[in-house]
């Protein structure tokens, strides 16, 4: 049975049951337990993680490897066990995006990726050394263009 989401951003949306993601611990500091991913197209650079409980709560996400070739996610084995995610399995990795007026002020949070696997989502703390909370999304392309 589909869930109807009355999004303050996007209006009414029908969300199929199998697109509902359970976040047992919610998002850090934001809570919530049921979210879904919305995209404008299959190859969209950004997707929205939208709460199914709060019509105004949504965060833009992106695939980190689209912008950061050498990005690594490192979590402790017991943490991975706890969450039921598997490095070799089909776990999708997203990072939250902080939007801004100017492209060069966009950033992604590489420290706290969101792992999605088997209908569950978890925001985890990445133990990898080079994982800033605010990594500029477009600085590399700006440098290349310059």
């Amino acid at each position: 049975m589909a869930v109807t989401l009355q999004s303050t951003r996007f209006g009414p949306l029908e969300i199929p049951e199998d697109a509902v993601l359970e976040f047992p611990q919610g998002l850090i500091g934001l809570g919530g337990s049921r979210y879904t991913l919305l995209a404008r197209s299959d190859d969209a650079a950004f997707v929205w993680l939208h709460s199914l409980e709060d019509p105004a709560l949504a965060l833009p996400l992106t695939n980190p490897w689209r912008f950061f070739d050498s990005y690594e996610v490192e979590i402790a084995d017991d943490e991975a066990d706890r969450l039921g995610v598997d490095a070799a399995g089909d776990t999708a990795v997203y990072v939250t995006v902080r939007a801004a007026e100017a492209l060069e002020d966009f950033s992604a949070n590489l420290r706290a990726p969101i792992l999605v696997s088997g209908g569950f989502g978890h925001q985890v703390i990445n133990q990898a050394p080079d994982a800033p909370v605010r990594a500029p999304l477009f600085s590399t392309s700006a440098e290349k263009a310059a």
């Binding site: 996007f10 998002l27 965060l59 939250t96 902080r98």
Partner: protein
């Protein structure tokens, strides 16, 4: 705030399932062991706070905040 004095090796119980143990005190650093249920995430406070702030900032983006035609690098 409840303030308790503990020595290395001594523990504090939070409810029945969460154990905080003072492992070692060395100068101004304290090593702490935490044994918590699987469902209870444990964070260093400064990291938790910065992620919370970043999540809140990300959630302020409007529906048209994202560029649709991207200069994606690959």
């Amino acid at each position: 705030m409840l303030i308790i004095t503990r020595k290395p090796g001594e523990k504090i119980m939070l409810g029945d399932d969460t154990v905080i143990e003072v492992i070692e005190v060395s100068g101004s650093s304290v090593r702490i062991g935490i044994d918590a249920p699987r469902s209870l995430p444990v964070y260093r406070e400064e990291i938790w706070r910065s992620v919370k702030e970043e999540n809140a900032a990300a959630a302020t983006a409007g529906p048209d905040a994202l560029p649709s035609d991207l200069p994606v690098t690959k």
